[in-house]
Subunit: 293 residues, 2 copies
């Protein structure tokens, strides 16, 4: 079997187009332009490029964006004040704190300054708490996990009853996607660095979510024939053939795994583009929460 | 193999004795007597008996308790006001809202009125959110899940790397115990009513947590020889031999399962007594949070 390669770029582009239309509709109706504020602390190049990409996506959809860049030595108090200012600003609908924050900053305290109605990243502890509980609904759900579910729903008729194995239990991907899969009625196994006999666990999976950050770690012979594989890893491996000296690969040994899986996401071009599309969707939703349209 | 029967009553009694000593030490040092407030709404007989048992446990340990009983037709606003009053009362260290609340009451809104430092039941969404996240620490953890981990830690040298299968994903037991087991580095599979081939899932478990509320549902031949089985179910089955006409049984077919497991909790006398002991521990802790001793 050769797997269907899930085209995350295309799925994201369709989603972005639909968001763009909705933004335009709002504008035609005379409603406020959605506005996303990003808060970036320090000079981490990866964080800088992520924030830049988010602003670019906003611009392409007609969403206003405001970027706040603070030095790495900002104090907890100064940072919280900035977030509180954005929280109080009615023209700002969504607030995104680019993580990780520098050492010495209490990340949770900063995240708690974001009103849950503006928490477009879904990382406020109340939104995460609601995600973990039945009959409670988070206002926003973290973007990469939402993107994963979005892709799965396009590939699989029903997630209900499927055996999902999640590799990784990070705050940003592994844990929230596990909670989302439970909400979708999958049977979910949460695996991590202390799991014993990981290949055996993965062999039981109809759905494999790999989010551990280890290049080509998941082998083809771990994958049950016909499983759907979502690869969230983005890892650099040396590649002297490339001008920049490296290329990006996922957590799954893609070349071999695609001969076993029924569908698989590539890296890059799989989950990545969905993350930003989900953020845009959340930013739009933050505006609709305010005016109820 | 005949399983060790885990004596929850004895474990709870030891814990209660240690709490009692600590309460007395506080009193000898002239510190405030710990105080638990319970809020009960309506006339549910099970809820009434649970609340009564909690007050009795407080009395036996020297913990002060205050019981507030509101009619089933209390409004959201009146109920929140009562909780807010207790929240503002410095002589009250812990607040317990007896669940479930009547239909028409927004449970989460009521729970959010409890300051997280007084949330001895651990159900505030921020405490649950922290439980679901790495590097975040809930101030309080729900009592039955804590009791389960307490018993497991006595039976198993290390939970790390063990395969734990949790049956049930309730807000009160299944989900929080799953999150606790992940924090303890177990590989956790969350099963529920939509799980396909539950026996096969249970057969993979070194640790089985049954919390589904179905009498004798888990069969002995589902259990891997040597597994540790924690039975959280409390179900009534007709028993004409008993004066009251019923007896209590767990979710596990105890008589047969104890011939396969290495250790198993009985019902009653297993997890139940630990729940109340953990609540007492939390009430004491709530007082120590205030005065730092």
């Amino acid at each position: 079997m050769t797997a269907k390669i899930i085209d995350g770029k295309k799925a994201a582009a369709e989603l972005m187009e639909s968001i763009q239309k909705q933004v335009k509709n709002r504008s035609d109706m005379g409603l406020l332009q959605p506005c996303l504020a990003t808060i970036l602390v320090g000079e981490n190049p990866a964080s800088q490029s992520y924030v830049k990409a988010k602003h670019k996506a906003c611009a392409s959809l007609g969403i206003r964006s405001v970027g706040i860049h603070l030095p790495a030595d900002v104090t907890q108090k100064e940072l919280e004040k900035k977030v509180n200012d954005m929280a109080a600003d009615a023209s700002v609908h969504g607030i995104l704190i680019q993580l990780p924050l520098p050492d010495g900053i209490d990340e949770e305290k900063v995240l708690q300054c974001v009103p849950i109605e503006k928490d477009v990243d879904g990382f406020h502890p109340v939104n995460i708490g609601r995600l973990a509980q039945k009959n409670r609904n988070p206002i926003f759900v973290p973007c990469t996990p939402s993107g994963i579910i979005y892709l799965l729903e396009k590939e699989i008729e029903s997630i209900e009853g499927k055996n999902a194995v999640v590799l990784g239990r990070s705050n940003i991907v592994g844990m929230p996607v596990s909670l989302l899969l439970v909400r979708q009625n999958a049977t979910v196994t949460i695996c991590h660095s202390r799991t014993i006999d990981l290949p055996e666990k993965v062999r039981g999976a109809d759905i494999v979510i790999a989010a551990i950050g280890r290049a080509n770690f998941v082998k083809a012979n771990w994958i049950r024939p016909g499983a759907v594989v979502i690869d969230v890893g983005v890892n650099r491996v040396d590649d002297p053939m490339r001008k920049r000296g490296y290329r990006l690969v996922g957590d799954v040994d893609f070349g071999a795994a695609k001969e076993v899986a029924s569908a698989i996401t590539p890296v890059p071009g799989g989950v990545g583009p969905l993350t930003i599309a989900m953020l845009m969707r959340n930013a739009l939703r933050a505006a609709t929460l305010v005016d109820g349209v």
